[in-house]
């Protein structure tokens, strides 16, 4: 399949990239292209100027800080996350999840920034980044701003990044020694499209002190499930607690999952409960080891 006519530019600096993005309403950043090129081939969205940001070295670093936090450039690929010793040291779950995105060729090109900025509800990384408490660092011509991952995803193919801005990097705070994260997906086949996903973060000190439960493919954007989190907090860290808490998922109108070629809304609602429980159980099983 073939794209419509398009202009292409490859700026040498972030500033040039921002200028290119600001100069034309139809401009869009091109990172790994593993989704955007498809969108353009299918001609479902129109782009006038593709601004290739893949060679901007500022966007390609993984910066491990002394406090245990990580700053990951938006154009770091899934494969680089998978192999990064820095990511593996403190945030192995991100490396593991990135290492199971589709296939090797896609992992070699697809980027963490692209996975977020596309805001496709089935994507792998958004629920995990929310669970990990990530901060999204957005750069515009007028300056930089930080948006919590939780507020970054606005809906289908829509994020906090405005026209003329760029997601520059993502900051992951250090995982506290008594905290851990879990991740679980139900996919249609091996390393394939998700029916539902869940990611969880828990901090346990005898009882569950803090819990974040994030679900995706249950609506236009990944959501934190306040009801389940509430039922976890302050409770003993047992499988029974988690099972009971997971009953909050799909209880009322907390979810608005789509019906599509792969699953009905009803099934997704039921499975959201299952993957939520599994993700929290995984986090609890790892708990106390600082993540892994």
């Amino acid at each position: 399949m073939l794209l419509e006519s398009v202009e292409y530019t490859r700026p040498a600096t972030v500033e040039e990239a921002l200028a290119a993005l600001a100069s034309n309403e139809g401009a869009a950043p091109l990172a790994g292209g593993q989704s955007l090129i498809n969108v353009l081939k299918n001609r479902v969205a129109s782009v006038a100027v593709l601004v290739d940001i893949t060679r901007l070295s500022e966007l390609r670093n993984v910066d491990a800080r002394s406090d245990g936090s990580l700053e990951i450039g938006a154009c770091v690929t899934y494969d680089e996350l998978d192999r990064s010793a820095d990511v593996r040291r403190g945030h192995a779950i991100l490396a593991d999840v990135a290492g199971r995105i589709e296939d090797q060729q896609i992992r070699n090109r697809g980027t963490i920034g692209g996975n977020c900025c596309l805001s496709d509800p089935t994507n792998n990384l958004p629920p995990l980044l929310i669970a990990l408490g990530a901060t999204m660092n957005i750069q515009g011509g007028a300056g930089a701003r930080e948006v919590p991952a939780e507020d970054f995803f606005h809906g289908y193919f829509s994020t906090a990044v405005e026209q003329g801005e760029l997601l520059r990097s993502i900051t992951l705070p250090a995982l506290e020694p008594d905290a851990a994260a879990g991740y679980n997906s139900l996919t249609i086949a091996g390393d394939s499209k998700a029916i539902v996903r869940a990611s969880a973060y828990v901090r346990v000190n005898g009882t569950i002190e803090e819990a974040r439960v994030v679900l995706s493919v249950v609506g236009p954007r990944p959501i934190r499930h306040a009801g389940m989190e509430e039922r976890l907090r302050g409770q003993p860290a047992t499988d029974e607690t988690v099972a009971r808490a997971s009953e909050a998922v799909g209880e009322g109108d907390d979810l608005s999952p789509p019906t599509d070629a792969h699953a009905s809304a009803d099934y997704r609602r039921r499975m959201a409960r299952v993957v939520a429980r599994r993700a929290v159980n995984e986090a609890m099983a790892k708990g106390g080891s600082g993540g892994e």
């Binding site: 299918n42 139900l186 249609i188 086949a189 091996g190 394939s192 499209k193 029916i195 070629a261 039921r270």
Partner: protein, 828 residues
């Protein structure tokens, strides 16, 4: 009631002087590989011609609509556009394609582009030709089509309703073929059986083997010679010629099909002829060669899908000892919007009427309808796999519902090893087999008792369940095309055949040239093996021309690569031609060596007198005499040899009887028995295959590794369809899986390591003892469904669909209150 008593067969065993053995039967590495591994294959999209333009089809975005107007002016004014073509022009320039169906289906008027109405999403309404692919696609978007929407019909049973919206007004309804197949006395059996198992509905879903290479072609209506050259990946060019020649008004001696390497086809590429006809017209109009590359989305929307079939009101008479007497069923087959090769599927299933079983009383009320969906075309296992899935579900459910051991029940009802050649109630002759042995071998390969024990130990409460399934299937090959007359008594088709040339070249080299169009089936290798055995050379010394070229290759109307028949028809032709050549070589050698023909042997590329290797003449010497030293031979010898031998293989068929719907419809019956172990996650319904084994019987093995490869491929296709691959339309007739994004073609993570074992029961009816194979009969569908069924509770609904994604399995484990089981038993 059956005419001939069982066991009295209409076919005499094939006569053969068996010279196969040194090379045939061994896993000779493939001759095709080198070019393909080096990136030097020649696929259809690799072709190029000077002055060539790029074609793009404009396709309907809606399922059913009247075409109010088409305006191509904007497209034509785009820079770089050479020409456009619309249905209106096609209607003026061509005749409708001939129809296989009798009336009423035969009244359908189909052209290569839609003329008055569009009847499925993806129906082609116009063609655009431009100087580049990009411009062609840009221009296609500028073609303005106004549609007047009509209601869509997407379910075959509903389509048959007289009140349903009609696709083809000239037909008068959506029912394009109806017939009753009635053998034995099923009403007697139902009245006298100890039990009658009643199954409400079984649904065989739509999917496609989706060859990785989409269709492609370069078509040139040569303005100088008036020859239409078609370089494509169509897999049955003679059928395409028969259909598009009369439509275009081009005699077949001016239609020239060519292909070399084809990137998989699986039957789907039989269906590319309407596009090829459109491209030919476009080439003529533009005065240029036309290149077409089908995009995957076009392929998913319009290249053709496998047949979808619904079975209703199934009744199965069973005796208390487990003998199954037969079955009664109403079948509805969904052909999609037009009849492409259909309604042949409405008879082809009857090659395997009783499946693998000794059923005597069978009644099938068969209806084929059109719907507002992509036309169906033969897809690996064509029409038999739907019916075989029915017979396998029947046996599986009889065991499940009446509490018989699933292994013993099958063995008891199988056609028995001593029964062959076995005549089915509709007069087909099963040539050979040993199904109980095959089942034992498959079960042994998975260690069946160990899995049964594991299943018991697992019990309930672990969150996981284990199910063990069996699928026995037939891969009937070498069609008797006379079966078409059961559909339409007016059709002048019967029998089957294939042709081949074998010759010695100028220096005595062996050259083989076939009528087939292989797509990975390794014809170059296996043809070289049998020819090498007959001529006493090595397969390395046999050159088999790659691909098909109508200008040079020999062929009959049945030529092509389809329907599990090459080992019989193709190799039969190559063997016959090689035998003829051998005879000529012996005659020339007899003269040259001054010895009797019967005293001469062929080995290592030489003819020599038995017992005296010194009295020898190499093939080079034979070729020298015939081609360049002809006056040295006696004239009567010189006039009787050419070293260019053509042979047509003709299987021993008679014309079936359209009245009784009886006759021998296929020459060989390869079988496959699959054993499958699944683990089901109770919470999600997710299915994981833990173990999988196949026992294959295709008679004499010409190349065991190649056979094994075919088994692997057919198994992967079946597993894909059973768990991952489906083509579904919404109520508006929009296809939900129109790319590989939604259509999950199975990957290396989805297909387990497969265990294969061989049973070898040679066919008495074929020139080499081999049976055609490759399609595989859809056995994984049978086995996976059986395994899921095995994991369910007694009170669960039955597995009633071929396609079982996690959600469907979840609902089987957690049925909504009030959901019926879909099955019942009446006992006396």
């Amino acid at each position: 009631m059956s005419g001939r008593p069982s066991g009295e067969t209409a076919i005499e065993p094939a006569e053969r002087v068996d010279r196969l053995g040194k090379w045939s039967g061994t896993s000779v590495p493939r001759k095709e590989d080198r070019r393909l591994l080096q990136g030097q294959g020649a696929f259809a999209d690799d072709a190029w011609q000077r002055r060539m333009g790029y074609a793009h089809f404009v396709r309907s975005p809606v399922a059913h609509a009247r075409i109010v107007s088409i305006d191509t002016s904007k497209a034509e004014s785009l820079d770089g556009v050479f020409a456009t073509l619309t249905g209106q022009e096609v209607r003026e320039l061509t005749e409708p394609f001939f129809q296989i169906a009798p009336e009423p289906g035969g009244k359908i008027e189909e052209y290569c582009l839609a003329t008055d109405k569009v009847r499925y999403q993806g129906d082609a309404v116009a063609l655009v030709l431009a100087e580049s692919r990009d411009i062609a696609r840009d221009a296609a978007e500028l073609v303005e089509v106004e549609y007047e929407h009509l209601p869509a019909v997407v379910h075959t049973v509903a389509a048959a309703d007289p009140e349903a919206p009609v696709l083809h007004e000239e037909v008068g309804s959506n029912v394009v073929w109806h017939g009753v197949y009635d053998y034995g006395d099923v009403d007697w059996a139902l009245e006298n059986a100890d039990h009658v198992v009643k199954i409400d509905r079984l649904h065989f879903h739509r999917f496609s083997s989706t060859p990785l290479e989409c269709s492609a072609a370069v078509v040139n209506w040569d303005p100088g010679t008036d020859v239409v050259e078609i370089y494509s990946n169509n897999q049955m060019p003679m059928f395409a010629s028969l259909v598009i020649g009369p439509s275009l008004g081009v005699p077949s001696n001016r239609l020239q099909f060519r292909s070399q390497d084809i990137g998989g086809a699986f039957g789907i590429k039989i269906g590319s002829y309407p596009q090829l006809a459109g491209l030919a017209l476009l080439s003529k109009k533009a005065g240029r060669p036309v290149k077409w590359t089908e995009y995957r989305t076009d392929h998913m929307l319009s290249a053709g899908h496998g047949n979808e079939r619904v079975f209703l009101d199934i009744e199965v008479p069973v005796m208390s000892d487990g003998t199954i007497l037969g079955f009664k069923v109403r079948a509805f087959d969904d052909a999609g919007a037009y009849l492409h090769y259909e309604p042949l599927g409405a008879v082809i299933w009857s090659q395997v009427t009783p499946g693998c079983y000794r059923f005597k009383h069978i009644h099938v009320d068969y209806t084929e309808t059109v719907t507002n969906k992509c036309p169906t075309v033969p897809n690996r296992g064509y029409s038999r796999l739907q019916h075989l899935w029915l017979t396998e579900r029947i046996v599986d459910l009889v065991a499940h519902e009446l509490g018989f051991d699933p292994v013993e029940l099958r063995k008891q009802n199988y056609v028995q090893p001593g029964d062959y050649p076995y005549e089915t109630p509709n007069g087909c002759i099963y040539d050979s087999g040993n199904l109980p042995r095959a089942l034992d071998m498959a079960l042994e390969a998975i260690d069946y008792p160990a899995w049964r024990q594991r299943q018991q130990e697992l019990g309930r409460g672990s969150g996981k369940r284990i199910g063990i399934g069996i699928g026995t299937t037939l891969d009937s090959g070498t069609n008797n095309f006379g079966q078409a007359r059961i559909i339409n008594p007016g059709l002048p088709f019967s029998g089957n055949g294939e042709a081949a040339y074998v010759k010695l070249d100028l220096y005595g080299e062996v050259n083989v040239n076939l009528g087939t169009t292989p797509q990975g089936q390794s014809h170059e290798t296996t043809a070289a093996q049998v020819v090498a055995d007959i001529l006493g050379v090595s397969p390395d010394d046999v050159h088999v021309t790659s691909g098909f070229d109508q200008r040079h290759n020999t062929y009959v109307a049945f030529s092509g690569t389809y329907a599990s028949q090459f080992a019989v028809t193709g190799l039969g032709a190559a063997m016959g031609a090689a035998e003829d050549l051998r005879g000529e070589i012996l005659r020339v050698a007899s003269f040259a060596l001054e010895a009797a023909e019967e005293d001469i042997e062929l080995e290592d590329g030489q003819a020599f007198v038995r017992g005296d290797r010194e009295r020898a003449i190499p093939f080079m010497g034979i070729a020298n005499l015939v081609y360049s030293n002809v006056a040295a031979m006696p004239p009567e010898l010189a006039d009787s040899v050419s070293l260019n031998c053509r042979h047509t293989y003709r299987p021993p068929f008679e014309v079936p009887d359209p009245e009784t719907k009886r006759g021998n419809l296929t020459l060989t019956y390869a079988s496959q028995t699959h054993a499958c172990v699944v683990e089901i996650d109770e919470e999600s319904g997710e299915v994981k295959i833990l173990d999988y084994a196949v026992a294959d019987d295709c008679g004499r093995l010409i190349n065991p590794t190649i056979v094994e490869g075919q088994v692997h491929g057919a198994t992967a296709h079946g597993i894909g369809a059973a768990l991952y691959e489906t083509l579904e339309y919404d109520e508006d007739g929009q296809l939900m899986q129109s790319s590989f994004y939604e259509y999950h073609a199975v990957t290396s993570l989805d297909v387990p390591a497969l265990k294969t074992v061989h049973v070898e029961t040679p066919s008495p009816f074929t020139p080499n003892g081999a049976k055609g194979m490759g399609e595989g009969g859809g056995a994984p569908l049978h086995a996976v469904c059986s395994a899921i069924q095995d994991a369910l509770d007694d009170e669960s609904p039955i597995v009633a669909h071929t396609h079982n994604p996690w959600e469907r399995v979840y609902w089987l484990l957690n049925p909504e209150p009030g959901t019926g089981r879909g099955v019942g038993v009446e006992s006396r």
